[in-house]
Amino acid sequence: MVDTISAISTATSSLPLRELILSVNIAGLLAFSYVITRRLQPLLRAQSDPRFDRPLRRLQTVGKYWFGQWRHPRYKFAGLLHVTIFAGFLLLAARSFSLLIQPVFPQFEMPVLSGRIYGLLTDYAATVVFVCMTIAIVRRVVFKPARYQAPAEFGKWRSVDAVILLAAIAVLMLADSLVAATTLGRDHGTLQPLAAYSLPWFFRQLLQTHTANALAPINFGGSVLHAATFYFLLCYRPFGIQFHVETSLFSIYFSKLDRGTVKPVRWDIPENNLDQVKSFGVKTFQDFTWKHILDFYSCADCGRCADQCPAYAAGRPLAPRLLTIKARDYAFRHYPVFSKFDNGHALVGTIYTEDEVWSCTTCGACEEECPLLVEYIDKIVDLRRGLIDDANVPQSLQKPLKALESRGNPYGKLEKKRADWTLAAEFKQACPVKILNGRTQAETLYFVDSTTSYDERMQAIGRASARILQAIGEDFGILGASEKDSGHEVRRFGEETLFLALRDHNTEAIRGAGVKKIVTSDPHALNALKHDYNDLPPIEHITQVVARAVREQEMRFRPLANGEQVFAYHDPCYLGRHNQVYEDPRAVLDAIPGLKRVEMTRSRDRSFCCGGGGLMLFYEPQEEQRIGVLRVRMAAEAGANTIVTACPFCLTNLEDAIKTAGLEGKMTAIDFAELVDQQMVQKRPHKDSETKYETAGTGD
């Protein structure tokens, strides 16, 4: 055996390994640097985006979502497969590095990440990664999960590309193992020890009969194959879906930290100078910010976003994933690695359609799911800003936008009628609502917003909320005619100028009212006042107020009379995902004696949008079915016959959907505030028949 070993050394040293690996290293690094320099060009020409703040928070995010792979197990099988591969890669990084360096500098040894234990660990890592690659290839080729499928116009290349990349990694693992199987140990006296039943171990078993002269070329060939495959992957990845291996760390480090917000029109231009900005929003590729382009590079095309997207589920012409993929293809086409750049084409009309851009409900399900924290809402809003700036707005949205401008609400109703919901005969006596006009003061402002103010059905939410505030002894009032629409949807539909006007008006009115805090029953108003407005008193949603009253035992409920009812709570997107209020409404529902509650499969941060409110109620999308109909069917599947929600838009859509789905009489919808109002035990009795939930949802 000793003879064999020395023969290997001699045979090895006679082959030009050092020269060859050195050249592959140099060529590979040069090629990689060139490709990356070219890929960075669009980012350098893009809009500014300040992502260099809060380094500790960002490192935490990296720890959780990159290193910790936090979101992957949300899809169990694929997720765990990825976590395993990722862990394998991390472990193998130092070993791969050594394999590229040691032939050139034989003395080189990785600090810490070398030695016997590391060697054995990585033998297994290489084996596990190899097995995972095989599973992943079989999965893609044989099982073809639906979320990887792309429409025909994208061709088959994408799936071929994925398989090539997976296969290349498998080859890398084989090469690595082959080298390990034929490499000498540290003492140069024996072959290095291998982990039992690992891939290198199997190779060595196979090669045992070979002579030294035969092993040397195998070691040589393995090293060269390893280096070649390594650099092939490094240079090929920036052309396809595996670029995320390089970019994900940066994407996640620079990810958006502020939930519920929308990016300003331009990060580098203060709001009051916006009139000088020639063009709003994204019209051509370079109107995206550099981070958004980085997102396009990072997307792994896994399809989790589209799988969660309500617009996609309803057959609207939007899949978040394709929004990214099309932009990446555009970048690869128009900023090619080997020829001249050719930018400046309008994106909508070439890679995107108008309907695609207007189809998004901004529910945030895609962003909540993306393992790489790719952003979608800001991009959609920026694309809409671009369309609006080019005067390109669907006809059905023009009237509501004009009405918001002239009357402060999308219906074009009179300002002076904004508080008419408080004048309902019996309500007016039982629960007089103050109008805070400067002379009348209160501690708390109830911000009603347009839908609850004007929509006859939703006005019941306003009255229920007012009675709740009264019951817990809140000194509150409303702005009445001087309240305008919060502008939440206006901003998300891209009409920034109108939004700013609405915001400025409301900000002045709210500050003028001199209140200490704000309560709203509309999650969209909550999100706007919290994230889109500046320097207002603290704001809470009515669910949070009631939950606190229940916790502090200031509110009690009478038992639910109807034992047949099974409730399911529908998380409104802007209360749940965008503002993380998941438990308060549930805690309150569970505090009502006798209330039976089930959870829908899609709940909490995976809640399924009702179809979108505000301006979305006016938009006529191309779709195969209504989003709301899908949602009420989910409630039925969960075994519920009453959907409780906490948003006037959700209630509008769900009540409509119950009728459209033909579930009238079998399913009802009720707002959280209405249910609480109906069940709470309070000092003064009241009677307002229209909020009795027995009739709610069937009142046509």
Partner: protein
């Protein structure tokens, strides 16, 4: 092509609750919000599209006062090249013929190949376009819902009752009244209006337009409004109070009975 579009500012029926004033001869205007008359907006959009296809300019003009500048400003934001306000105390309370006379005088000062008006104003009588054409001795086509430029002629079409389409050829210069639905007017937001805030709007009065005060204004009006009322609600609709299925059957029956289902 040099195109003039005559526009008008009207109370927006979708954003107002129309009530009578104390006199009972007009609507209460204190809290109204106004916008451009809808068919006029389609006319401007059509003019802009023609200009973008064949070149030329688009001028918008209105007869009115300072308040009416807002609709001119809006049409400038849409993309009109020039806006003109025809304003004079003597123009007040002109009837349709008076308005047409003022517009005629303006047109005669300039040179237009094509003059567009909306098919009618929300509160109007659909008469100014025709009268203007007659006064200028120009060919006139009304209710136009598509325009094709063919050299010195236009092919214009209109919808015939029942949904059929008729195409006519008409010589330029001419006057056309434009029907809604001819196109999809572009959006004008606050930003667009702000961007044209400093564009000057020329104001022309009676002397610049050589308008004789006997031919316009209150004194020349031959048609004078003497009453205005909101009709009393009739007995109105029949309310169906059955189940959904019964109601659906009943509705189908009622429609069929009136010849609606074939």
């Amino acid at each position: 092509m040099e195109i003039l579009v005559c526009v008008r500012r009207v109370p927006d029926t979708s954003e107002n609750e129309i009530e009578l004033d104390s006199q009972g001869k007009d609507i209460a205007r204190d809290e109204l919000v106004y916008s451009i008359n809808e068919p006029d907006n389609y006319a401007v959009e059509e003019a802009l599209q023609i200009r973008d296809r064949v070149g030329g300019t688009v001028t918008v003009a209105t007869v009115g006062g300072e308040d009416d500048e807002e609709v001119l400003r809006r049409e400038l934001a849409m993309g009109a090249n020039r806006a003109v306000l025809l304003s004079d105390e003597s123009f007040a309370e002109s009837d349709g013929r008076g308005i047409a006379t003022i517009l005629k005088n303006f047109v005669q000062k300039e040179k237009f190949d094509l003059i567009l008006t909306g098919v009618q104003a929300d509160d109007g009588a659909a008469q100014v376009g025709g009268m203007l054409a007659a006064m200028l001795d120009l060919p006139f086509a009304s209710l136009v819902n598509s325009i094709e430029v063919c050299g010195q002629k236009l092919k214009v079409s209109r919808e015939i009752e029942g949904g059929n389409k008729e195409v006519n050829e008409i010589d330029l210069p001419c006057v056309l009244s434009i029907q809604t639905g001819i196109n999809e007017p572009r959006y004008v937001g606050m930003r667009g209006i702000r961007q044209v805030a400093s564009v000057p709007i020329a104001t022309l009065g009676a002397s610049e337009l050589a308008t004789n005060s006997n031919s316009v204004g209150r004194n020349a009006a031959k048609v004078v409004r003497i009453d205005y009322f909101i009709p009393a609600q009739g007995k109105g609709a029949e309310i169906l109070r059955g189940s959904r299925e019964e109601n659906a059957d009943k509705v189908a029956e009622l429609i069929a009975a009136r010849g609606g289902l074939r």
